[in-house]
Amino acid sequence: AQSVTQLDSQVPVFEEAPVELRCNYSSSVSVYLFWYVQYPNQGLQLLLKYLSGSTLVKGINGFEAEFNKSQTSFHLRKPSVHISDTAEYFCAVRRTDSWGKLQFGAGTQVVVTP
């Protein structure tokens, strides 16, 4: 079985400052890794994914994440946040041998203030 741990439940950050959201996972098999974002009163949308290849993955809205296999981590970063980045962020994993089931972390609420 897989598990996903998001180490921070809430991250306050000032506008134009950098932000890092931490995600660690455990799995006995190979996994794909995802970050989703949920804006207020909306469903989730995909920010980025790691499937294979380069460990640095770039996504939408200026976000990027780095896969570290030895530390089983997939941390999300943005060098300069905007007010509009206020949202909840979810890390998720999926077994490479399964067709769709995702295991989600508990989520990290990012609050950007001026």
Partner: protein, 111 residues
């Protein structure tokens, strides 16, 4: 453009009522999912379906059932609603590749 719709954004039901949550996708996806989202717990999988009339239990199926009579529609049924089923319910679909497409969610309150 990808579209997953859910029948209601907000729903208030009484304890013991039978509740139907509907989800429709217009992308001809084979696979559909129902999650519930609770603060501090993230999203937990209730049921999923990989084809019409096919379903499998997720991590928390107790108290729920599902129906998939047509490819585009996946219904979640609460046979006898209870207050601990007050939650946000999210539907998603995928063609079997990597991305799941989510609906806007239904916030259900059971009183």
């Amino acid at each position: 453009d990808v579209k997953v719709t859910q029948s209601s954004r907000y729903l208030v039901k009484r304890t013991g009522e039978k509740v139907f949550l509907e989800c429709v996708q217009d992308m001809d996806h084979e696979n559909m999912f129902w999650y519930r989202q609770d603060p501090g717990l993230g999203l937990r999988l209730i049921y999923f379906s990989y084809d019409v009339k096919m379903k499998e239990k997720g991590d928390i199926p107790e108290g729920y059932s599902v129906s998939r009579e047509k490819k585009e529609r996946f219904s979640l049924i609460l046979e006898s609603a209870s207050t601990n089923q007050t939650s946000m319910y999210l539907c998603a679909s995928t063609p079997g590749t990597y991305e799941q497409y989510f609906g806007p969610g239904t916030r259900l309150t059971v009183t």
